[in-house]
Structure formats: C-alpha cells, structure tokens
C-alpha cells in the first residue's frame, strides 16, 4: 500500500464534507424559518469540523507539512475530489434537503464501516463523526417525507429536486483500482456494501415521501477525478477569497 492511495481516499472524504459544509453555510441568515436556519448551519459546522479532521489527516499522509487550511484554501478546482452532487447550488429548501438526505444516507453506512478500519486515525474520525451524522440523517429524512407527502406544492418541489439530483448519486460510490488494495487491507469498505445500505434507506424514505425515482438513469461523474461543474469555481472563489487576497493572513 502506498500512502498516496490512502491520501487520495481521505481527500475525497474531506472534500465532500468541506464543499457541502460551505454550501449549507450559504443558508446562514436565509433559512425559511429561524429553526431551520440554525439547523442547517449546525449541520454545516459539523461537516466543516469533520473536514478539518479529515484534511489534517490527508496532510499527514501527504507528508509535505500541509494542514487543513493549506488544503482547503490553496488548491484549485481540478485538485478537488468531492462528488459533483455536493457542489450543486442550494436551490430551494426542498433541493437543499434532498441533496443533504442523499448524502447523509451515504455517509452514515460509510462511517459505520470505517469505524472498523484497521487505520486507527480513520476509525477515530469515523467514531466521532458517526454520532453527528445520525442526527443529520434523521433530520433530513423527516424533511424529505414531510415535503414529499405534504402539500401539492411541497410535493412538486421535492420531486423536482429528486429529478435534478438523482443523476449525481452514482458518483458517490466511485472506487479506484488503488482502493481495492485499501479494501483488502481492511482500511476501507467496498463501495458495493455502502451502496446496498444507501439504497435501502433511500428507497424506504422516498416511498414514504410518495416520491418517484426518475426513470431516466443517466448519471454524471467527474468530480472524483477533478472534473467539476462550473459551480465549484464560484464556490471556491468565496471560500478562498481571504487567503488568495491576503496570503498567509491569520485571524
């Protein structure tokens, strides 16, 4: 096993958390009701915290003395490895909840498996993050059901969100050749296991929400290889502004 393989894996986890955390943070002060404004920023904060732990560890594996700040603020779009789903714009509240739900349903079983990782640091981060992720998944599942099985308008908005975001879900389960080595060493789980768990959660919640999975199953991918949608550049311009404008500034 090369450190580089594990670095790439941890970087994907860290970038997913960071980019989604940044997106959710955009709701700060704009939530439909005060409680949801606070809930979304709470979840955002958890994700940013997880990103800090993950990117710090990626920096250790990389061995060039980079910490989470260096990795978050000083990389270009094509160096980011987050899935395309997570950089998609917030849209309306239904769209944000749907995106978050599709991700939480993926992250929870992933952390549950990473808990058993033979890599102690990955297992520790998973142990910490899993407790938070359970709260997130419960929250977003309830919203997806409430919106889907709600009024005509909320149902239609939730269905539109699902139709729009479904095409980005396969990419979450991206796995490289190098990952198979990590899997055989018991460091990370196989994505097929995670997908099985994910499908179970997603299908049961969507059914209760009276929402229908789009029949067109055309899937996008690219984020895991550094090929992003144009949305990521704008997001990073916001995220990285201070460090780019005033290099090495601290506050």
């Amino acid at each position: 096993m090369k450190n580089e393989d594990l670095y790439n894996y941890v970087l994907r986890l860290g970038d997913d958390s960071l980019i989604l955390g940044q997106r959710l943070g955009e709701w700060c002060g704009h939530g439909p009701i005060l409680e949801e404004d606070i809930a979304m920023t709470n979840i955002s904060l958890d994700l940013i915290g997880q990103a800090m732990s993950l990117l710090d560890y990626a920096g250790v594996l990389d061995g060039q003395g980079k910490d989470h700040d260096a990795l978050a603020f000083l990389r270009f779009e094509n160096e980011y490895r987050n899935a395309l789903l997570l950089e998609q714009p917030n849209g309306d509240f239904a769209n944000t909840m749907m995106r978050q739900f599709l991700f939480d349903a993926f992250r929870k079983p992933l952390y549950e498996k990473l808990l058993e990782s033979t890599d102690m640091q990955i297992a520790a981060i998973a142990e910490k993050s899993l407790k938070e992720t359970r709260y997130h998944l419960k929250h977003t599942s309830e919203w997806v059901i409430r919106l889907g099985d709600g009024t005509d308008e909320s149902h239609q908005r939730a269905q539109t969100a699902l139709d729009l975001l479904w095409r980005y879900t396969d990419e979450l389960f991206f796995q490289t050749e190098e990952d198979t080595t990590l899997i055989s060493l018991g460091m990370v789980p196989s994505m097929s296991e995670i997908k099985a768990e994910w499908s179970k959660t997603v299908l049961s919640v969507l059914e209760e929400a009276t929402l229908v999975i789009p029949t067109n199953n055309w899937q996008f991918e690219g984020g895991r290889r550094g090929m992003h949608s144009e949305h990521l550049g704008f997001l990073l311009a916001d995220l990285q502004y201070m460090q780019r404008a005033y290099p090495n500034m601290k506050w």
């Binding site: 409680e35 949801e36 994700l47 297992a123 359970r134 998944l137």
Partner: protein
C-alpha cells in the same frame, strides 16, 4: 512543586466559553493530565467535530497554567468519542441551575418521527414540554419550550 492534583485544581477554573458554569472536567472534555518528556501534557476531546469553542478552551487551559508558571501542551483526541455520559453529576446540577436542561439518559430516537424524549423544564420542572428544534443555539443543544410556564429553554442533548 507542581503535581497532577494542583494542575487539576487550577483547570477546575477553566470553563466552557458557551456554558460558563461548567468546567472542562464537569463537561467531560478534559481527558487526561500527565507529565511526559519534561512537560505537562493535557488531553482534551471535542464535544462535536465543528465545535468552535475547542480552540478557546485550548487557549484558556494554556493561559490558566501560565498564570501558575507552567508550560504545557494540549492534545486533541477523537477516540473514544465524547458522550454525555461523561458529564459529571455536579455538572448536571449546574446546568439545570443555569437554565439548561441536562441530558436525559436516552438518545433521541433514530426512528423517524418517533415520540420525542421527555425533557422536564429546568425552570418549573413540568414534564409538559415540546421540542422546537433538534438543533439549538450550539451544536450540543436542542431547543425546547415549556408548555406550562411558556419558558423557551435549551436542552443539552444526549449523545452516546
């Protein structure tokens, strides 16, 4: 001479910046104090990954020890992960007196739309309260309201 006991008693004065009645020991965030490699090593663990108070707690620990002429290092560990079981008995009482309902010994159910945990009002002790939001003023709290005295209050949510 500086002993582990003296360090612990000084650190008793270092409180959570968001909940100033709780010391880091009460909160269960302080995990270890030991003398290693000619230096005092203080170990703390975060309540939540993104808790912005962690950095302040670290600075406050170093500042407090410095007042006593002690240089130390603060380490952050993630495992075993923090749980509200580590909240001390005195900590639970201090929380209630401060107006924050201490964690009930029950994690909020993962079952969707499950009946919520009964949390007594810290002001009038009524058990008729309702959850306003799972996410409150900080990551570790939920937002409740008492249906009897109408007081809105924070609930330090159970995490296991």
């Amino acid at each position: 001479m500086v002993t582990k006991e003296s360090i612990l008693s000084w650190l008793d004065e270092v409180c959570d910046p968001e909940i100033p009645v709780l010391s880091l020991a009460d909160l269960g965030v302080l995990r270890g104090v030991e003398y290693l490699n000619d230096e005092w090593q203080i170990t703390i663990t975060p309540t939540y990954s993104g808790c912005p108070a962690m950095k302040t707690m670290e600075d406050d620990i170093l500042l407090k020890l410095k007042e006593h002429g002690v240089e130390a290092k603060v380490h952050l560990v993630l495992s075993p992960a923090w749980t509200t079981d580590w909240l001390s008995e005195s900590g639970r009482k201090k929380l209630k007196d401060f107006g924050i309902a201490p964690p009930e010994n029950e994690v909020d159910k993962s079952v969707l739309f499950a009946a919520q945990t009964v949390v007594p009002c810290p002001r009038c002790n009524s058990r008729e309260t309702k959850m306003v939001s799972q996410f409150g003023s900080t990551a570790c709290k939920a937002h409740y309201q008492c249906l009897i005295c109408s007081e809105p209050f924070d609930y330090f949510k159970c995490l296991k």
